[in-house]
Symmetry: C3
Amino acid sequence: MNYVHIVAALAIFQFIFFGVKVGQARGKYNVAAPATSGHDMFDRAFRIHMNTLEQLVGFLPALFMASVYWSNAYIAMIGAVYIVGRFVYQKSYLADPKKRSLGFALTILPTFVLLVAAIAGAMMN
Amino acid sequence: MNYVHIVAALAIFQFIFFGVKVGQARGKYNVAAPATSGHDMFDRAFRIHMNTLEQLVGFLPALFMASVYWSNAYIAMIGAVYIVGRFVYQKSYLADPKKRSLGFALTILPTFVLLVAAIAGAMMN
Amino acid sequence: MNYVHIVAALAIFQFIFFGVKVGQARGKYNVAAPATSGHDMFDRAFRIHMNTLEQLVGFLPALFMASVYWSNAYIAMIGAVYIVGRFVYQKSYLADPKKRSLGFALTILPTFVLLVAAIAGAMMN
């Protein structure tokens, strides 16, 4: 069982889910496309989605590269922290944008660990 | 012949092409960088590019993962639907942002199918 | 030693670094989340980060695909041009958004070369 691929696919589904939330916020707070702001709660949903995009772009390649050199199950566990961290980020950002730090740390740290693991693996091989 | 890689490379070229269109719209509608809005037609070109960015981030890893477990040619065909769907999305968004749903569906659905194929393959292997 | 993975990891670190710069600019120029503009220097930092996001999404898969068919060290060298080009882009964009063309060319051209190399490799294999 390729746990890393399952975590990667779930992280993409999570990102799509945050995008669906943006679409719902468009209707709820009356912000028609192509506008990307107009109501504070819409802006929060939009920023959660965008920030997850920014994180995903680094997280997925880091996850794939690290899994070339290290145990699939361990790398997948680090990846699972990212997914949980993103939900924490979403919840706290919606409650109060100023409280987004913990969730942010829980997703940037796994990416850092994976990048260091990838570089270490790439240098030893 | 690795059809999946050819589809992936074409999807990236398509995304760069949408970016070129944003650059042209900057000149045509007088929206100088770093501004990211200012004229409705510029906004549409900008949103087409951004939405394709959001989709590509999920589509490419899903394509690569699914191709690990399933026939390269079949996976590439699903990927080709994504590319056609993005052009439909572009055309309809430029005509009227409210009519972007079909093109959107034609690109999010292939990604969904690829993600499910990737998870199924990852669980069976 | 997998040079391509090292270059890929460094490109992701560079992108995270540009994101840190956006966070710092939020404080310095008083642009609180979820706002994404409000001061010209903040806007520049924000656009550097976003443009790097747009480039990274094409660059990394192109790098990985090309390295399947061609010499790891040569592909990594093309990737290194991208990283240097991004720093040139950052520096010139901060100085004057109108002077961002050279840095932009130095990052889009390596991606083009990698994409052509990937397609050529995919067709010959």
